[in-house]
Symmetry: C2
Subunit: 242 residues, 2 copies
């Protein structure tokens, strides 16, 4: 069976940083499903024409095409119902939508402000121009200005924005409960995005959110560690595997 995930990449095809694509990669691994994560770039919208839209992630699972990370998670949960569950019941699926909305609407904008200026150098030339223009229009200023106050901003981010996450992880090992679930992957995507794009550290050592992030990085054979943190040397084994 062929299975392909179109996955956002930097100029280096091994650089995979999309928080939404990481949700899908972790969901596939959770289900124990192989997929060829092929590199795709912002300015290659036409390559996704077959999906009826122009954004990643897009999963092609045999003859079925599924776009959008949430729909991919639901597809995997329903199609592979006999494999480990992403939601652990319909209530888990429903309430994970709130986690999805919080991550998209609260966590991502905060992370974006702190790492966005580090992204252009990672991108292929055509993407670099597209990214800077579209994001500077969105923020209404140069990307370097958007991220300029991050050293001060990160304090409130840790204390206030991450508070509900920290409380939850003080009560149970995973957002999904006793075992990781899709809610963990939703939130983790944001931290993986920052990890791959920027050497600016969002979390303090000892924060329960930081220890949880390490545990997610360890999941599924260390899948998310196969892409090195920005500024870290790629481990030899990973470099060889590329």
């Amino acid at each position: 069976m062929s299975r392909t995930l179109y996955d956002l990449a930097g100029e280096d095809p091994a650089c995979r940083f999309s928080p939404f694509c990481w949700r899908s990669r972790m969901a596939l691994a959770h289900k124990g499903l192989e997929a060829d994560a092929v590199p795709w770039r912002f300015t290659e919208g036409e390559r996704l024409g077959f999906s009826g839209q122009g954004k990643v992630p897009v999963l092609v699972d045999s003859e079925r095409t599924v776009a959008d990370s949430w729909h991919i998670a639901c597809w995997l949960e329903d199609r592979y119902a006999d494999r480990p569950s992403l939601f652990d019941g319909e209530g888990g699926r429903a309430v994970s939508r709130f986690v999805n909305a919080w991550t998209d609407g609260v966590l991502h904008p905060q992370v974006a402000r702190m790492v966005v200026a580090d992204i252009p150098p990672l991108l292929a030339p055509a993407d670099r121009a597209y990214f800077r223009e579209s994001r500077e229009k969105r923020f209404g200023m140069a990307l370097e200005r958007v991220s300029a106050d991050r050293a001060e901003r990160v304090e409130a981010f840790r204390r206030e924005v991450l508070h509900p996450l920290r409380v939850t992880l003080g009560q149970q090992a995973w957002i999904g409960g006793e075992a990781p679930g899709y809610a963990d992957y939703i939130v983790f995507g944001a931290f993986q995005w920052a990890r791959v794009c920027s050497d600016f550290e969002l979390l303090e050592n000892g924060d329960p959110v930081a220890t949880w992030r390490e545990r997610v990085l360890d999941l599924h054979g260390g899948l998310a560690r196969t892409v090195p943190a920005r500024g870290a040397a790629a481990p030899a084994s990973v470099a060889a595997a590329q």
Copy 2:
């Protein structure tokens, strides 16, 4: 079988405004369980000595005593597993803890700032002094100053704080999915608190969050409407029922 819920009350014993107690009252109704919701006041901590702590809600279910709204929900879910589920699976229970943490840590402080000055006149005299002193110490200023900017503050509250809730309710009828669940009651408690304590309107007409709030008010025979909104006349039938 006797079942008693100790429920925070104002000077008027019919005035029930605790967001945490409303979580438990809605959870009991969801399970189709009768309980005698007895009035309790802030300064009656000793009346709860049997529970090992001094806060409501406390549920006494035959010989079992359960304190804390989250533990009460879990007790009801596990003890009455054959009745309609509050969580619809273990994933729903786990991820609802995030909703609980978000509500306690983000939603409640925002609502508190906007309604806290309206609370003292509702309280019994001893509670009034306790409440003003403890809350003014917490906020570091007079309660009237805390709430003074609410007309401006409410705009960002609606647009930013409620954003994840609005997105979720744009995708499904309830936070719990196709049917209401405990996650709905967690969040609803904050709006019921504001509704009973203050005539300041947190929501705009037409906001999906407002239509959801109305639907929660209609649940379980309109249980949450049996306490009138502040400033509204009690419906004759409710007044008679008291």
